[in-house]
Amino acid sequence: MKKIELEQVSKFYEKDVPIIEDLDLGIEEGSFTILLGPSGCGKSTTLRMIAGLEEVSGGTLKIDGRDMKNVQPGDRDIAMVFQNYAIYPTMTVRENIEFGLKNAKIPKAERRKRIEEIGGITGLTEYMNRKPNALSGGQRQRVALARAMVKNPQVFLMDEPLSNLDAKLRTQLRTELIELHQKLKSTFVYVTHDQVEAMSMGTHIVLMRDGKVMQQGTPEEIYDDPDNVFTAKFIGTPPMNVFRAEACPKSWKIPEQAHYIGFRPEHVRFFRPETESIELEGRIITREMLGAEILYKLDTPYGFLQARDYHTADKHEGNVRLWLSRGELCFFDSQENRIRSHMEEY
């Protein structure tokens, strides 16, 4: 069932300068949906429209099938976690968490019970009487989370909540958020520009660019089956290698309409595979040992490419031979859109 529906939604700040135009988007109930894209793609604006912090310029936005026009943010049964936490600096942790409950006129005994419970979950129990300026970044983020959770909302909206934290804490909180989603079973809508975050947390990814949805689907679909060059290059570290078709030799039997050929770094092989394959030569420029895997940057007659090899006794150096399995190639047309009809043929 769709929890949040955007139909032909557009957003203008100035006339004739659309930030978002005719956006159609459905967010499934109970999903962990990620709005992903480079900065300025309209993902945050979309989230803020769902929250009611930005007006919808055109189209309809529904939550639970109900049109949200003229529904105040506080009445949408949502909670939001902001990038800069947005905790009230003059209130203690407890007051911060309690503020929304008080405004919703929840009785005192109930409030106390919920705060205690949330304090336990977020590990904030001993900091309840502290002011936010006496907390670390991670703790502040937990306060922001606790403040959202305590309201038991149907929908959680999160606007890059982890981007102000250091790498280690980010990884830790990432796992915690996944657990939280599984426990609460509510709908999460999460905005990020970090595709690793998106891939690791989301059950559904919506990849956006310039106010348009480039592709949406499960992380697997987005990774394995990109609809266009943008998706192919945005998702994956390192991203998909894309060659211009005209630079490649005829012997590769590239379909006529194809302007670009893409393949994932892990599909570059240093040995001949058993399936039908293309052979090319390259010179290794750099080698990055990452533990379980090794990344190579190579120079080939058709352009640079990156290859991912798994940690083995083989150490590749200098000029090497490479093989690409034909079935793993993706072809894109002149508009950078995927050509799918040739998948079976070749």
């Binding site: 943010p73 506080g74 902001f82 009230y88 003059t90 929304g100």
Partner: protein, 321 residues
């Protein structure tokens, strides 16, 4: 010992780095240069400190000194110990004047702050029109209080003033704004509020615009009503600014003088006589210089105490994040 070592060190270094010797001297100065380097900063602040000493420190100490003497600025000074203070604290007029000063302050500070807060909330949005209104409101602040006083004296004139003319349109009998002992203080406060409002509004608007917008968004998501948002978020966030304005307002009220001197001369029946005006009268009209100095000391202690309160609280008061 250390200097001697340094000298040897530089002596050995110099021949070897002939080209760099000038740079070396700069980085590793000799004894003379070192002394100069230490004294130079003091020499540079000396003029300012001299002026400060002659015009601020010396008069303050001299005032305290004079307050223990009977003196009229011409005759010989006669040491009378704390008699000036005893006279002052047993004088009914002193307490009346102090009471008037507090009355002025208690009307002036809350009224001007609440009023300017309300106006600032209205002007908070940074639009062209609001900036214009704000600039116009600030204008009284750059006009001399003397001019302002004269304009208001005309407006408050019992027979020919604008105020009474307007009242007459509503068939209200004329008010003697500056001549009625029950009204005169109120009139003075009105003029002073009018003058300082623009400044207060300016500062509060700046503080309001400094409150991050996401706090209001978070509040909206927390279902906060506007009135709750104001008292739970806006007001606490403004508290350091308001505190500053209250304190400077109190200090300013203690020192109020021009409007009293020009508009009412402390009258009628001493109803608007304030501490500084009385001090001026004692010192420069009656030439009770010692007595006036003693009043000056009391004023200084009062203002000093408020300043101390301000800095103590400010240090404890958190600068949020």
């Amino acid at each position: 010992m250390e200097i001697a070592e340094k000298a040897v060190f530089t002596g050995m270094e110099r021949p070897r780095f002939k080209l760099k010797s000038r740079m070396k001297a700069k980085a590793d100065p000799g004894t003379g240069a070192k002394v100069w380097q230490k004294t130079l900063p003091y020499c540079m602040v000396l003029p300012a400190m001299l002026i400060f000493g002659v015009f601020v420190i010396y008069p303050v100490f001299y005032m305290v000194y004079v307050s223990f003497f009977d003196w009229n600025m011409i005759a010989d000074m006669e040491f009378i110990g704390i008699e000036n203070y005893i006279d002052m604290f047993t004088d009914k007029d002193f307490w009346l004047v102090l009471g008037n000063t507090f009355q002025f302050m208690l009307m002036m500070v809350p009224a001007s702050i609440i009023l300017s807060l309300l106006i600032a909330l209205y002007l908070k949005k940074n639009t062209r029109i609001n900036r214009w209104i704000q600039n116009i409101m600030f204008m009284p602040n750059i006009v001399s209080l003397v001019s302002i006083s004269f304009i208001w004296m005309w407006m408050m004139d019992e027979n020919r003033g604008l105020f009474n003319y307007v009242l007459s349109l509503f068939n209200i009998s004329p008010v003697n704004w500056l001549g009625d002992p029950d009204v005169a203080m109120f009139s003075l406060v009105l003029v002073n509020i009018w003058k300082s409002l623009g400044y207060y509004v300016l500062i509060i608007v700046a503080a309001l615009q400094g409150i991050p917008g996401y706090l209001y968004e978070a509040a909206a998501l927390d279902k906060s009503k506007p009135i709750t948002t104001f008292f739970k978020i806006t007001l606490p966030m403004l508290s350091p600014t308001l505190f500053f304005l209250v304190l400077t307002g109190i200090i300013g009220s203690f020192k109020t003088f021009e409007s009293v001197s020009l508009m009412t001369a402390g009258g009628p029946a001493d109803s608007t006589n304030t501490l500084v005006y009385e001090l001026y009268q004692q010192g420069f009209v009656y030439y009770n210089t010692g007595y006036a100095s003693a009043m000056g000391v009391v004023l200084m202690v009062l203002v000093g105490a408020m300043t101390l309160v301000y800095f103590t609280v400010l240090q404890k008061k958190v600068h949020y994040q």
